[in-house]
Each structure stands twice: as C-alpha cells, then as structure tokens.
C-alpha cells in the first residue's frame, strides 16, 4: 500500500451565524494515498465543499475550523501560520472550482493567470509565459497561443475549465482537489474534462480529491469513495466495494437513484424527505427521519464510525450491532 499523502482526522468546521453556530463538518476523517483518487459524494449542503476548502484552509468567513487534524506529508496544516500555509497552496495542494466563469478573474488574460501562478516559483516572466503556454497545451486547450491572450469571457465553459486546470497543475502539486469540476459544463465536455483529469493524474502522479454529487463521476474516475451526509462521512470504501455492497441505507438509496436500465424502461427513484437543516439536526442519526430501515436507537444515539477493514468504514446502527453480525 502506498504511503498516505493526506490524512484528515476528526475535522470540525463551524459557521457562526446570527442564529447560532452551525456545525457544517462534524468529525470527518479520511485519507488519500499517493496517486490515489478519492471522491467525496453527497447532496448539496452536506459539507463536502467545506471539507475540501478546509484542506487549503480557505473556508470562507464566518466559517472556522474548530477541531481535528489535517496532516499533509507529515505536517499538520492546521498548525502552520498563514505565511507557511501559502507555501502549500498551489505548490503542494491546489484546487479547481465548480464554475470556471466566475472562478477566473475577468480582467486578466487567461494566459497571464497561469503565468502568475508559475511566477510564484521565482520563474522570470518570459519563461513563465512559455511554461504557461506549455501547460495550456497539456490541458489540450485548442490554439493555446491565441487563447492565452484571450480574456476568460471570450472562452467557452470547457476552455475556461481547461485554463483553470492548467493554472492549478502548473506548479506540479501533489494533490489536486476538484470541487464539482464538471457540474457547470455540458455533458459532452464533462466527459472530456474527466478524461483530462484522469490522464493528468497518471502523467503527473498526482493524488486527486474529487467533490461531486454525481455517482457517475465517482464510477468513472475514483479509486475510493466517501459518502457524506449532514456534515459527516457515513460510509467510505473502495468504489467497487461500495457500489456492489453499500452498507449505509443512505448510500443504498443514492445508488438506487442512479438512472439505469434501457432508456424506455428508465425509472428514477428518489430519496423521500429533504436534507436536514445543519443548524437544527434531528437527535440521533441525522439520516433517521428519511431512513426506511431505522431502529429505535436511531432517533436517540448517533452511531459511531465503525471500521470494517482498513479503508472501509460505515456509520450506522444497522451495521456492527448484533443484528449485523448475526446476519
């Protein structure tokens, strides 16, 4: 097994709102090995993006990391001062965002925005420009020479996302976080971008953390998956294992909600109920109001995370209690 590049343990993120503190991330623990692709899936508002931003310590105010450890290559990032943290951003860990239209600065040429990143490594401007062009070639931007001189609004969504990816891999980070990298794009472009990410991580031997709500993306690209619900990880494991034998009722329902079967017989299942309000979570397991297999204990005690074997965890009373082992 490859060495762990990133280990997150017991991460807590809290937002101080006018109606009191909201725990957006509640004791999330996971790790990513060198060269591995981990996907975090969940509905909007489950804390997956906040978890991702925490790794770069870029949680927007009024959010604050209130507990846990984020150990990258042996260093707890939460112990670093802001200046040392800057050395990690972009260089060791970088991140691409959901909507490439608003994530690129509208007043700078796209090539400059890549060049600006390269120049952080003390590269003189002319060499940084050539490096930027080279990177834009690698992300398969058509006519990189021309496009580098274009402004973001002159590019299509897919091209913008390529510029974004180019900017973020230009300093050879060891971990790339991709927050819903394909959500804002057309379906055909989505596949291209995923292919690109997959190729790049092999070429550059990067680890990848993909945040998505799309299980199709998970199946396409990820080695391991973590399912999040209401700020907590409810299940983790290898993608094949989780897809074949999901243990948490939420994961099971998510997989059922995937469109499958021939087109004319296509039936979509949905999960009844809605995502709970993080500022007012139900007692016990936060999923119990929507769970079809809930036990009495579910509304009283929140389950602990149980490790079934290394790399495979679940957080559910149905698993690990007596009923599970008897089955």
């Amino acid at each position: 097994m490859a060495a762990k590049l990133l280990e997150v343990s017991g991460l807590e993120v809290q937002f101080d709102t006018s109606s009191g503190p909201v725990r957006a991330v509640r004791g999330v623990s996971f790790d990513i090995a060198e060269g591995e692709v981990l996907a975090l899936v969940g509905e909007s508002g489950c804390g997956k993006s906040t978890t991702a931003l925490s790794i770069l310590r870029l949680v927007p105010r009024p959010g604050e990391i209130t507990g846990g450890r984020i150990v990258f290559d042996g260093v707890n990032l939460l112990d670093l001062d802001e200046c040392s943290m800057t050395q990690y951003r972009g260089k060791q860990i970088s991140m691409i965002f959901q909507n490439p239209l608003v994530a690129l600065n509208p007043v700078y040429r796209s090539g400059f925005q890549v060049q600006e990143a390269v120049m952080l490594d003390k590269v003189p401007p002319d060499r940084a420009w050539r490096a930027a062009l080279n990177v834009l070639k690698q992300v398969r931007l058509p006519d990189p020479e021309d496009r580098a001189r274009s402004y973001p609004h002159e590019l299509s969504g897919g091209m913008r996302q390529r510029v974004m990816i180019g900017m973020m891999i230009s300093r050879f980070p060891r971990l790339l976080i991709a927050d819903e990298p394909t959500t804002a794009l057309d379906v055909t472009i989505q596949a291209q971008i995923l292919d690109l990410l997959d190729d790049l991580r092999h070429e550059k031997r990067m680890s990848l953390l993909i945040i998505t709500h799309d299980l199709g993306v998970v199946a396409d690209i990820a080695d391991r998956v973590g399912v999040m619900y209401a700020g907590a990880l409810v299940e983790t494991g290898d993608v094949t294992e989780v897809f074949e034998k999901p243990l948490h009722p939420y994961t099971q329902l998510l997989l059922k909600a995937l469109p499958r079967g021939p087109k004319n017989e296509l039936r979509l299942e949905s999960i009844p109920g809605g995502v709970p309000n993080l500022s007012n979570l139900p007692p016990g397991c936060p999923f119990h109001p929507r769970c079809q297999r809930r036990l009495d204990i579910c509304s009283k005690v929140e389950p602990e995370t149980l490790e079934i074997h290394p790399g495979r965890t679940v957080r559910c009373h149905l698993v690990g209690g007596e009923s599970f082992w008897k089955r």
Binding site: T86, Q87, G90, S94, M95, E116, H153, M167, R171
Partner: protein, 312 residues
C-alpha cells in the same frame, strides 16, 4: 473605439438639444421680464417695445429658441442683457475657476475617500471600520451652506488663518474645498468599501488564494484591481454633479466661478447667460459620462466587448 466615441458624442448633442429646449421652456414660464429688470421704470412704453424688438423678445418663444440655437451652432452664445458682454466671454472667464474648485474638490475627495474606504473594508467589522463609516456619514448630513458659514467663522473670523471669501490666491481655495470635500468623503468611502467587500467574495479571489498567491498579492492584484473599476468610473460620473452643486458654495464664498455667474443671471433674469451656463453644464455632463465609459472600457475587458459590439 473611435466610432463608439463619435456615436456617443452624437447622442450627447441630442441630449444637449433636448435639455436646452426644456430649459428654454422653463424660462419662458418664469414670471417677470428681463427688459423691465434692466431698464429704467420711467421709460415710456414705446421705448420698452423698441428694446424688446432689439433683443428679439417680441418674437414667439420657438422663434427665439431657433435663433438662439442657430447662433449657438456658430459658436455664438448670445449677449448678456444685463451687461452687454458676450455670454461666451463671460463663461470663458468664469469656467476655469469653477473647474479649478470642482476638479480639485473631486480629486481631494477621492484621494481621501478611497484610501479610507480600503482601510474600512480591509478592517471590516472592527471599531476603526465602524468609526470611519459613522464619522463620514455624519459629515454627509451637514448642509453645505451652513457648514460654509461655520468654517468662515472659525478659520477666517476667529483664527484669521484664511481669507473669508473671493479669490486671492491658493489660500482662498481652502475653505470652499473643505465645504465641498468633507460631506462627499462619506459617499466615496462607502462606494469603495462596498466594492472591495463585494469583490473579496468573488470566486476568483478564492482561486487566487488557492493557486498560492500571498494575502497581500491577492488584495492588490485581484481584489483592489477589480474593485477600483467602478470607483474610478464613479469619479467621472460625479464630476458634473459636483460642478452644478458648486453653485451654492460659490455664492457663499463669493467665488468668481460659473455658479456665481448663473446665480446673478437668474436674479436679473438675464436669460442668455442662464441658458449659456446650463448648456455648458449639460455639455460637461455629457463629456464626463463619455470619458467615464471610455475609462471603464480601458479598465474592464468585458465592457470593452460591449463597446465593440455597440459599434456594429
């Protein structure tokens, strides 16, 4: 770009013409009669009629207007009824003083307001931020004419540091400047502050952090660079407003500018002078708006595209 400017100028001319029609109509509705204001009341009626004919005031209003417009297009703004001097000369001798006062006031206001706005935004939520916003808001609420008199009492009468009114060199600028600048700082501070705070929330700022730029570099190259676009444009949009707003201040301080000229002209019903000054202010407004748009286009490539497209 050149085509765009020409097109905007053409629209500007239309704006000036419509504004002058409105103005002309309003003046026709004014009670009183310019001839009676200047002529001796003992003058016999037929002499008054003669004078009216000489000034063209016996013609219907629209004919008067067309005459005036025809002369204006030839560069002749008419003759002052009260003094007999050409209006063009009167304005030309006063305009530099108004531009000096309003222009300096604008520059000083932005030189103070923008940095304070930046400080308030970067220290958002702190005591300093609240103090700055509160203090400048209170300054905004002070009526200019009252503030002017207060300043005169303190600095000219009590302390005798500065001349009380008129224009006797640079020292004369100080009090009218203070009267015009201090209330305006609040507005500039607020615009700057809110633009900076809005920009700081943009996703591209997160991107800039994520690629590893230092906090200072993000502030300067990504937050300020973008936030100052609307602030700069507001400078040009506010300038004509300040020029027309200087009418009262100029009168309080006996400042030899256009504001004082038009004030006197209104009182003596000197219609050609009033017309001329207002056309001048309209023209300045149009020019400032165009300059503002061009500057916006230079600073923001997205607006440049809109400008290029508007050309086609």
């Amino acid at each position: 770009m050149l085509n765009y400017v020409l097109k905007r100028l053409a629209v500007g001319v239309l704006v000036i013409i419509s504004a002058s029609i409105v103005l002309f109509s309003i003046m026709q509705l004014m009670p009183g009669d310019p001839i009676r204001m200047v002529a001796d009341p003992r003058l016999p009626p037929h002499r008054i009629e003669e004078l009216k004919r000489a000034w063209g005031l016996d013609k219907p209003a629209y004919v008067q207007y067309l005459y005036w417009m025809k002369n204006l297009l030839r560069g002749d703004m008419g003759t002052s009824i009260a003094t007999g001097q050409p209006v063009g000369y009167l304005i030309a001798s006063r305009l530099p003083y108004t531009l000096l006062l309003a222009g300096t006031a604008m520059v000083v206001r932005y030189l103070i307001g923008v940095p304070l706005g930046l400080i308030a935004a970067l220290r958002q939520g702190t005591k300093l931020d609240r103090l700055l916003v509160m203090a400048t808001t209170m300054l905004m609420m002070i009526p200019g004419y009252w503030f002017a008199i207060l300043l005169m009492m303190v600095f000219a009468i009590k302390l005798r540091w500065l001349p009380i009114s008129g224009f006797q060199g640079p020292a004369s600028l100080v009090l009218p400047l203070m009267t015009m600048v201090l209330p305006g700082i609040g507005g500039t501070l607020r615009v700057t502050r809110s633009e900076v705070l809005d920009t700081a929330r943009e996703p591209f700022v997160l991107t800039a952090h994520a690629k590893g730029l230092s906090a200072r570099a993000v502030q300067v190259y990504h937050i300020l660079r973008n936030a100052l676009i609307p602030v700069t444009v507001s400078f040009f949009l506010n300038l004509p407003w300040l020029i027309s707003g200087s009418v009262i201040i100029e009168n309080v301080f006996a400042w030899p500018g256009m504001g004082r000229l038009v004030w006197g002209a209104i009182q003596s019903q000197d219609l050609p002078v009033v017309q001329g000054v207002f056309v001048m202010i309209t023209a300045l407004t149009v020019v400032c708006n165009i300059v503002g748009d061009i500057v916006a286009g230079l600073l923001d490539p997205r607006i440049r595209v809109e400008i290029e497209e508007a050309r086609e």
